[in-house]
């Protein structure tokens, strides 16, 4: 199965990004492909390199970057939603790229399943 993942909320405030992360890991472990993770609405904050969680807590931004590197997953931050919220190249964490909303439609077309994680 080929998956597209849509994340609508930022790290920590909502569980969405965590749930999406665990789902993505489980899908890969089962041998499925995750074609792209698209970050929209406040989801763009998952790409903020300035995020500094407490040292005894998970670093969600880094978890996504490491997962993308390990499994060659395309992490895309919506440019329009990002601009509104100040997520630009200057603060973009490793593993993420910024692109347009067309990337979400594209993955809806290319994947077998598009799963949304949000509020």
């Amino acid at each position: 199965m080929k998956y597209g993942i849509l994340i609508n909320e930022g790290p920590f405030t909502h569980q969405a990004s965590d749930t999406a992360y665990h789902f993505t890991r489980a899908a890969i472990e089962k041998g499925h492909q995750v074609l792209r993770v698209f970050f929209y609405h406040d989801g763009v904050y998952n790409a903020n390199a300035l995020s500094e969680p407490q040292s005894d807590d998970r670093n969600i931004v880094k978890l996504w970057g490491d997962l993308a590197k390990e499994h060659k997953i395309d992490l895309v931050v919506c440019v329009a939603a990002g601009l509104r919220r100040g997520i630009k190249d200057q603060v973009l964490a490793e593993g993420f790229r910024i692109s347009g909303l067309g990337q979400l439609t594209e993955i809806g077309m290319a994947a077998d399943r598009l799963i949304t994680f949000g509020d």
Partner: protein
């Protein structure tokens, strides 16, 4: 079809909306704060039990554990993240009731 519900039925109408829209043969997976809808002794128990006759109702185990709750209504199936993935393989489309 797979319906995902992530909000407590006490907080939001999303669970009720999902129950209203879920047709025979579909599945509902309760995740995050949505797991509270899977518990015994709430005002939702009868609705959930009735729906479970035609719809596969599941609840995400890790989210139950995180919240320290485990008295799940009979007929509701506890799954892990792997089971979550399997549900998305078995059902399409997948709708998140946010």
């Amino acid at each position: 079809m797979l319906h995902l519900v992530n909000k407590s039925p006490f907080e939001r109408g999303a669970f009720e909306s999902a129950l209203n829209m879920a047709r025979k043969g579909s599945a509902i997976l309760l995740i995050e704060d949505g797991v509270y809808a899977a518990l015994k002794n709430t005002p939702f128990e009868d609705k959930v039990s009735a729906a479970a006759k035609d719809i596969r109702i599941c609840v995400l185990g890790p989210d139950l554990e995180a919240r320290g709750v485990d008295q799940v209504i009979e007929g509701v199936e506890v799954v892990d993240y792997g089971g979550f993935v399997d549900l998305t393989v078995d059902h399409t489309p997948v709708q998140s009731w946010l």
